[in-house]
Symmetry: C2
Subunit: 580 residues, 2 copies
Amino acid sequence: MSRTISISQYLPILRWGRYYDKAKLIDDSMAAVIVAIMLVPQALALALVAGLPPQVGLYASIFGLAIYALFGTSNTLSVGPVAVLSLMTAAALAKLGISDPSQLVAAAMTLAFLSGVFLLLLGLMRLGFMANFLSHPVISAFITASAILIGLSQVQHLLGTTSSGQNIIELLASLGGSMDEINWITVSLGLASIAIIVWCRTGLASLLTKMGLGGRLVTSISRSGPVIVALLTGVLCYVFRLDQQGVQLLGVVPAGLPGLTVPDFSLGLIRDLFWSAVLLSIIGFVESVSVAQTLAAKRREQIELDQELIGLGAANIAVSFSGGFPVCGGFSRSVVNFDAGAATPAAGLMTAVLIACVALMFMPILYWLPKVALASIILVAVYPLLDFSALGKSWQYSKADFVAVSITLFLTLLVGVEIGIASGVLASILMHLYKTSQPHVAVIGRVAGTEHFRNVERHDVETFDNILSIRIDESLYFANTRFLEELIFSLMAKKPKLEHVILMCTAVNAVDMSALQTLEKINRTLSEIGIKLHLSEVKGPIMDKLIKTTLFANLSGSNYLSHNLAVEDLKDHELPLSGL
Amino acid sequence: MSRTISISQYLPILRWGRYYDKAKLIDDSMAAVIVAIMLVPQALALALVAGLPPQVGLYASIFGLAIYALFGTSNTLSVGPVAVLSLMTAAALAKLGISDPSQLVAAAMTLAFLSGVFLLLLGLMRLGFMANFLSHPVISAFITASAILIGLSQVQHLLGTTSSGQNIIELLASLGGSMDEINWITVSLGLASIAIIVWCRTGLASLLTKMGLGGRLVTSISRSGPVIVALLTGVLCYVFRLDQQGVQLLGVVPAGLPGLTVPDFSLGLIRDLFWSAVLLSIIGFVESVSVAQTLAAKRREQIELDQELIGLGAANIAVSFSGGFPVCGGFSRSVVNFDAGAATPAAGLMTAVLIACVALMFMPILYWLPKVALASIILVAVYPLLDFSALGKSWQYSKADFVAVSITLFLTLLVGVEIGIASGVLASILMHLYKTSQPHVAVIGRVAGTEHFRNVERHDVETFDNILSIRIDESLYFANTRFLEELIFSLMAKKPKLEHVILMCTAVNAVDMSALQTLEKINRTLSEIGIKLHLSEVKGPIMDKLIKTTLFANLSGSNYLSHNLAVEDLKDHELPLSGL
């Protein structure tokens, strides 16, 4: 790939914009309508999850979608508020100990700004690989735990009570203390709402399909459950004045588009939110890329990781100047966008326009929307995120991953999202280092009559008193050099007639400085007591590097192309050397 | 290895003690005398480096040596104060902001206690592998930077001025500000002392060898430079009352053995010193094991890593109850012990007895010892620790190691020892993850007429329009799964006729949960667009694990024993499938 920098590299809209035509316009506008129907109630609800006024969710959607469309490389990723980021925003804001809504919004804007700048910098510095340090099972455990916490945080609205907390203990204790406030009208509205949304997605969808309706129409109707619920419950509340029966309404939501505002740049706030922004950015990026990559591959399209960072960064910065909170690509929404036929990022742009219309025109109606409807929408949305299979699968497949998964799941639930994800990342890195620090190695012998060498413990093979053959099934680097040293010296102590140690390097993909120095030390120590060190079957790229080092200049033994050549060459020396 | 626990497992003295005889006694006592001569002035000087009264160095030596002899597995490791740990102790104590000597000693004892408990726990839990996370070049850079800081901290005594500081900037600024205090008699004494010590080691040693004297005698005389210097300068100060000329004397050193005391267990102090103790323990352990392992291998003996942790832990705990400060195995001293013929840990026990005698009888004489003599001893001792070769070597051999080395070296010098080593460890882990997150992979084709597959970019090979063959030269784990996914999807986008992707896994030593899930996702995504995923040449241990997973149950393609078999099998499908 050429490294020449052109504007279109950083502004993908200039690439796809040139080939935009009517067919794409139709596809994109259809998708935009369906996504907008789905997004509006979700955006309002997710703002409440983050502990912010509902309109903030719409503002974040408008600018998140629009700016990502200019800079992003995915044709189908739908950017906006997502459940996990809303929860992480709530956790970050809770640490600040403020309760005034306008101060909370200001802090959320700063969080989005920090997150945007961080993502943008990673993208410009081409450091997208940092997202790789999150292992799949850790993310999956984190998302499951987050979904539980989000679900629990919504139970208060479902019961008509009030609760708060950043972890399962606080939430349950808080809910337990408010049980005498349960409002049964609210509970009934909630259960009915959940039933309607679920039925739209399943029963209604298959009914419509059976009736012979087209795919897109089915998709849009089946996804309109939340809107139907919002309308129905709103009308019920208005007609029967259910607020007087204790049903909590959304209340006054200011109409109009967000004004351009500047986030709070005070140093203390930036310091308090810095690490939250970093964690939140990485989670958001990993989630976005994961869905964008899957959807792109289905159409044999490609996304560019570093440009995705720039796109998400720009979206968050834009959001931070327009009264929003952190955004990223949402999974279910992007899948809907994809299924609905979105052809280019223009679909996102149109969704943004539609949501802006909602913000301009329909805000007064929202007064009558009960909070329990929004809670039902969230509960149905986060339910599919629950996935405990990582726990069982990792237990079966890899105990190291199981440790990381358990730590992430339980610390997120019991302590909170930030400690949870940070510990998970740390645990997976340490477990990886631990595993590779004790690599699989085998003392090998020759299968009689062949040139094949196998583990002496598993096979009946021939060995020689003066030769120690070791195969190392791992790259050599600082975490396992001591293991290698200890292994060779301990095996050596058991072979009194030893003259040659041969390391078979077929599976050694890398040799770092520590390993190089250890090999030099082993070579020196062995040669002082009259034992030669040999290498066999070293890979080309490794050999290219080793050949220039002092290890090769001082190697007491030789470097053999095949292990059998080495053994053939060296076993002759079993004859008394003095006899020569 | 049997896991039955016996007392002798944890108390190696019961093993070697049974076979102790007169020959070993003679060897051990000779070595003990030589090491004691070397250790006494060093121990006094190192206590000053740590910012503690000189006798603390002797106390630490007595109990460090004696207790390690009971629990340690190395026959030649000489435990006691060492330069780098003294510097780290000074840094840890400086953070406390106390200046009263008795309080400093109490804090040093607590530090030794925490370090001892930490090492002991690691040993009992068999967690010695944690020391592996320190890469060689990082340790070497850290020791070089520490040697510079120690050397600079001694310049004040060499000039007769006063200075202080925890990094090169503070030390140089402090020295610069005290230049008008230079005492030229002190400078002369210092330069003469350095000259004598260096001459004893080099000129005198070769002179004696030429005169036909035996090895041990030469070793002991050549190593007695510090004692000669201490005696000479002490006599000069006494005779000419040089203290009245501004030469700083050691002053009153309390005679007698240390009393049994209890370290300060206050929670605040423990919290303040905790991380310092952890860092110091790991550095001490790595240093000890490194020298013990080299010396043991030279005699085809073995040490046990986890028991070494127990030995060093016990030594530090003992030291903490007898007014000492953190200890570990010293490099040069252990080499001298080895060369002098130490046969068993009893040599260390005897050295301890000899030093106890010094503490009992010779303390009053030390009053006249000038500080400049001790500074000279330290300067000569730390000079060989300077080794900048890691910088150049890593630049040539591995840029990733170079980054870690530079960070360690410069942060240790410019900020201090603790930040320096912690950043170095972090940098080497991150660089390792970075490297393996972008593994070497090759699209491969067949060398015509053979069964060999080679990189298409390097060799003239045959490829097939419907097949994409990829060889991965790295274990698959969370840090490189995204790379793999991106690679396959981007290569796929370039081959419109693609039907089969074959991954050649000869160099894949591990597949973790993230990689497994990524392979499942790739398999699913490819099969949705009609492309099959195949594996070839998967290693036995990996296959054992994969065979039980859903990946294998759902794999759209097959698993081939050889890559050639796969290509032979699949290339036929190039014929139009509809023709069947």
